[in-house]
């Protein structure tokens, strides 16, 4: 089994985290659908939003992944997008939240 990825999240945000993580899981499928349809604009917007929220919630990796999705979508780079979505899904499987 792959190692867990520990994310330290402010205790002030504890009430928001279940919903935030649930939306992230659902978003992976949305991104996959958009990629299959070649909707790079939607992926750009989604990646940009993920980039903006991830770090603030305590998930800096999501900011990085979101930035990759945004940049790759702007360039229409399908291969990079597939890699980013795979990393996104892997991260969401492995992330473990610790409230500080």
């Amino acid at each position: 089994m792959a190692d867990k990825i520990r994310a330290e999240v402010s205790k002030d945000l504890e009430a928001l985290i279940p919903r935030y993580l649930d939306r992230r899981h659902k978003e992976i499928e949305i991104f996959r659908t958009q990629l299959a349809a070649g909707d790079f604009e939607a992926l750009r917007v989604g990646g940009h939003s993920l980039k903006g929220s991830g770090g603030g919630y305590g998930f800096p990796d999501l900011t990085r992944i979101g930035g990759t999705i945004e940049t790759a979508a702007k360039a229409g780079d399908k291969a990079t997008l597939e890699g980013a979505l795979a990393e996104y899904a892997d991260y969401m499987q492995r992330v473990e939240v610790t409230f500080i």
């Binding site: 402010s10 002030d12 928001l16 939003s49 903006g52 929220s53 603030g56 919630y57």
Partner: protein, 426 residues
């Protein structure tokens, strides 16, 4: 201060994040969310005046936050705008500031501390701007509007000195003047209570920075409940002046007591314990005083002491921001080494200043003296901790801890100092 914020961002997650941090800090705050993608443009009919601050994102779907910022800043009802940028967008942040943004925040590494710091600064700026505008709109006061009982105060000694009228107070006498304000002893008419009134010098009322500092003093102290902190009764403004009404101390200050020779070693320790109690209260509110000195320790009629003059006090988060460090403020005799070096501060800086006061109370002289401020500052940074005179050796370990050059070698908190002092005499 309560808060009414407008958050303009196309990310629901980010709007929720900001709203949550605001709700934790200000439970009574109102947060209005605006999603440009689903709600469209904010047009000229949208009333911005009811908001204390706006947080505005840069890229919002197809909307350009910079263009929105330029348009908003042309409006007279626009509150301070905190611009939200993404990773690698430092140029955008600079552009935003040039186009009237009050501050910017990086979304990808946003912390609660940074958000709250920015919001507090924006709220203070908003209040200062409101007061300045109101004073500018009001011409010379009308006799018809004058209340029956008005304190008439001469702002100076010359025959042409400006007259200050503050509703509800009767002036007894001028006490003194400092860097930005003049202080009077006045009587509150409603209950005959003697009160100190601090009035911001009129020439500074048009300067937003000084106004913000003046308002900040009230904002910070009014939150603290401690009998060792000066009570603030009122803050307001007339057509030309801004004032704070605060507690009057009948029994003078610590400077006077040190000079008169009444402070024995035992009394010094007791006074230090009271100062530590006051510091604990302000530090728990995230405030560093930064100007602790005998002149700012006042005594009531029952001989209890209180700390006054929060004119250069700062929220700890403010002190640590990059825009705030690098400026040395405060009286050089009591500056901590980190203050002297212009470094980030926390409550341990006030403990150092308290240590200097303790040394002075015990030894009847200051530990560091010099002929120039720079030389004095260097002594705080580099000179060894002086020894107390003979007969006071038992207090030297306490002095060594309080005056340690490295904050990590001092008491970690005012509470720790209190605990130490509680065991000291036993």
């Amino acid at each position: 201060m309560s808060l009414h914020a407008l958050v303009v961002d196309d990310s629901e997650d980010f709007r929720l994040l900001v709203g949550q941090y605001i709700a934790v800090e200000w439970p009574d705050a109102e947060v209005t969310e605006w999603d440009p993608v689903t709600q469209g443009d904010i047009d000229d009919n949208f009333d911005l005046s009811k908001y204390d601050v706006m947080l505005l994102d840069y890229i919002m779907g197809k909307a350009d936050g910079l263009e929105w910022l330029k348009r908003f800043r042309r409006r007279t009802d626009c509150p301070p705008v905190i611009f939200l940028t993404g990773a690698g967008s430092e140029q955008v942040a600079v552009l935003a500031l040039k186009n009237g943004a009050f501050d910017y925040l990086r979304k990808h590494d946003l912390s609660k501390a940074r958000l709250i710091e920015a919001l507090r600064a924006a709220m203070t700026e908003r209040k200062a701007a409101e007061i300045t505008q109101r004073m500018a709109r009001t011409a010379a006061y009308s006799d018809l509007n004058r209340a029956p009982e008005v304190a008439r105060v001469s702002a100076g000694d010359s025959p042409n000195a400006q007259v200050i009228e503050i509703n509800g107070y009767h002036v007894i006498r001028k006490i003194g003047s400092g860097g930005m304000s003049t202080v009077y002893l006045v009587k509150r008419i409603e209950d005959n209570q003697e009160v100190v009134m601090k009035i911001l010098d009129s020439k500074l009322c048009e300067d937003n920075e000084f106004l913000m500092r003046f308002i900040q003093e009230y904002g910070m102290i009014s939150k603290i409940e401690s009998r060792h902190i000066v009570k603030i009764y009122d803050q307001g403004f007339t057509d030309r002046h801004v004032y704070i009404a605060m507690e009057y101390f009948a029994n003078g200050d610590l400077r006077g007591r040190i000079k008169s020779g009444v402070v024995t070693a035992e009394v010094a320790i007791d006074l230090l314990a009271q100062v530590a109690s006051a510091l604990q209260a302000i530090h728990e509110h995230g405030i560093v005083h930064r100007d602790l000195k005998p002149e700012n320790i006042m005594f009531r009629a029952d001989d209890s002491l209180a700390i006054v003059d929060f004119g250069i006090a700062k929220m700890i988060s403010d002190v640590n921001s990059l825009t705030q460090t690098g400026h040395i403020l405060g009286t050089p005799y009591y500056l901590s080494p980190e203050q002297a070096k212009g470094e980030a501060l926390d409550g341990r800086s006030d403990l150092y200043s308290a240590g200097i006061m303790l040394f002075e109370m015990l030894a009847k002289k200051r530990p560091y003296v010099a002929t120039t401020p720079i030389a004095l500052v260097n002594k705080h940074i580099s000179d060894p901790i002086p020894k107390l005179p003979a007969g006071l050796e038992r207090y030297q370990p306490l002095i060594e801890i309080l005056l340690a050059k490295n904050p990590s070698e001092r008491f970690a908190s005012a509470r720790q100092l209190q605990d130490y002092l509680a065991k000291f005499g036993k």
